[in-house]
């Protein structure tokens, strides 16, 4: 235990000194944001990256399929695409040459757009001219600082890579579990089968059965199980501190949005007559209340999956941010590598808190998967429930 700390502190100090040597000022916010963001290459160790396949679509030039290794970590532009902090960006200017082009450092400047809004943009200088980089399109319509740009990124990113990995692991694990049921037919469960039987039975008896109802739960059980185990595996992969883990999959709004949309679709296509009656014209209450209640109920249809989306995203992102911030203490206390003693103090404090946070995050990984599953099940349960008690309203 003691030696572990000492080794850890020495390792942290080495990092701190490396940071100092690379002559970069340590910016905790951008470091954390880069770590939790998606990327087109997988950073494994200092200077070691796993290149990932890129599927890029620009309406003006069509599909570009390539490996992110060709960008040479941002030093080369390929068919106007550039790797900016691990993420593919595109130079939208038509007179920038296609093919592989050597580019200089990616720089940042502030510009005023047509609406008079000041924003920071990244640019490269080529042939004495500034070329502004477009970020990949996002579907927030500009509300969250994104929006549709000149291209779309459908690459196997770091998030997608780990998501696929966790999906493969999940499928292998459950095929082994299912095999266990065939082989140990009529016998008690063994090995991995017993481990997952506990979780399976827990989700069945605590989530699907009570929330959806004894007679209907079996139809929705595969959906709820998929939600629970997919979220759980992604959460747990995010907690592994080294390759192929440490990826903030379920702390990305796109992922939680997709999962929430699935719940929304499954809930509403299975909604029965009573469910829609309760949404649009709640029975058993005066007419003027209905006028207020109906818009509220219609809003609730969307707020429910919205809350699912935000809850999972915020919990997982927050966990990652806290752990990264605690690790960042080493660099802050170490004054960017100038104070080894400070780094040691930061290392000890940071490690203790990180160990503690990791345990909390382990709980959160299970808890958030469970909450997503149980709330989805309760929404589905409300949509398919038979109402025998009209007077109850």
């Amino acid at each position: 235990m003691k030696y572990g700390f000492i080794i850890g502190v020495i390792m942290m100090n080495t990092f701190a000194l490396n940071a100092a040597k690379s002559n970069e000022f340590y910016d905790p916010v951008s470091t954390v944001m880069t770590h939790i963001s998606d990327a087109n290459e997988f950073h494994i160790w200092k200077g070691v990256h796993l290149p990932l396949p890129c599927f890029l679509y620009a309406p003006s030039s069509g599909w570009t399929i390539m490996s992110s290794g060709q960008f040479d970590h941002g030093h080369k532009a390929v068919d106007r695409y550039v790797l900016n902090h691990g993420r593919v960006n595109r130079i939208s200017a038509d007179h920038f040459p296609m093919g592989k082009v050597e580019i200089g450092e990616i720089l940042h400047k502030e510009i005023t757009d047509e609406n008079g809004k000041v924003k920071e943009v990244a640019y490269v200088i080529y042939d004495g001219e500034d070329f502004i980089l477009d970020k990949p399109s996002t579907l927030d319509g500009g509300i969250l600082g994104g929006g549709i740009t000149s291209f779309y990124d459908f690459s196997i990113t770091k998030n997608v890579f780990t998501m696929l990995l966790s999906a493969v692991l999940l499928i292998i694990v459950f095929i082994l579990v299912a095999k266990g049921y065939r082989e140990n037919h009529g016998k008690s469960p063994k090995g991995i089968q017993s481990l997952f039987e506990v979780m399976f039975v827990f989700i069945r008896d605590e989530v699907t059965k009570p929330m959806i109802g004894e007679d209907k739960y079996e139809r929705f059980q595969p959906f709820i199980m998929t939600l629970f185990f997919f979220i759980l595996f992604c959460n747990l992969f995010g907690l592994i501190p080294f390759f192929p883990g440490g990826v903030n999959i379920t702390g990305n709004l796109a992922v939680t949005f997709t999962l929430a949309i699935f719940t929304f679709i499954v809930t509403n296509i299975n909604g029965n007559k009573h469910y829609w009656e309760h949404v649009f014209w709640m029975p058993g209450i005066p007419g003027w209340v209905k006028i207020i209640l109906t818009p509220v109920e219609i809003m609730a249809l969307f707020i429910k999956p919205f809350s699912l989306m935000i809850r999972l995203f915020a919990n997982i992102s927050a966990g990652h941010i806290i752990i990264l911030s605690l690790i960042g203490l080493i660099f802050l206390f170490g004054d960017n590598g100038n104070s080894v003693g400070g780094a040691a103090v930061g290392g000890v404090i940071g490690m203790l808190f990180t160990a503690f946070m990791n345990l909390i995050e382990l709980l959160v990984a299970f808890l958030q998967a469970f909450i997503f599953a149980i709330l989805s099940a309760s929404y589905i349960g409300a949509a398919v429930e038979d109402h025998h008690h009209e007077e109850a309203h």
Partner: protein
């Protein structure tokens, strides 16, 4: 200033269509593959096992009940047998007593009859003896009379002494 950069850099809140597409693909893949190959078979296997356990429990309960009823039946049978045995014993005892009593009564009667017979016999014998004595006495008397008659009896006194002498002789016989 810093906040603007912060928001601008927070990529995780901007829904990326690529990530949405891949999440959809991966989710559906897991749903269809595991739904068919794992979740449904596991559910049915678990259900089957639970039904088996329930059946086994029910059967055990039934067997226990059957055993209990069998036991009470046995007890009833045993009790009955015991009752019968004691009844038989009592009957036997009664019968033996009655036989004994009967035998006693009979023996008493027989004894009485024997005694009676004996008494009669004794009476008869006595009568016969008396008769014989009478007869012999008569003969003796006749003899005596004859002897008296044969001797010439002179006086009454002499006669009386003589008779007494004869009687004494008789007694001595």
């Amino acid at each position: 200033m810093k906040t603007i950069i912060f928001l601008a850099d927070l990529d995780v809140i901007k829904p990326d269509p690529g990530l949405i597409l891949w999440t959809t693909v991966v989710f559906l893949l897991i749903y269809f593959v595991l739904g068919k190959l794992a979740f449904k078979p596991i559910q049915s296997a678990l259900k089957e096992r639970e039904d088996n356990i329930q059946d086994a429990l029910d059967e055990a309960k039934k067997a226990r009940e059957a055993m209990a009823s069998l036991k009470s039946e046995n007890e009833a049978l045993l009790k009955e047998a015991q009752e019968e045995r004691s009844k038989m014993l009592k009957d036997a005892r009664d019968m033996s007593t009655s036989i004994l009593n009967e035998a006693k009564a009979k023996a008493k009667e027989e004894a009485k009859a024997i005694v009676l017979n004996a008494k009669e016999e004794i009476e008869n014998q006595k009568l016969a003896a008396v008769t014989q004595v009478k007869n012999e006495l008569g003969i003796m008397v006749i003899d005596l009379a004859e002897k008296v008659l044969r001797k010439n009896l002179k006086g009454d006194k002499e006669q009386e002494e003589y008779v007494a002498k004869l009687v004494d002789e008789l007694k001595m016989n």
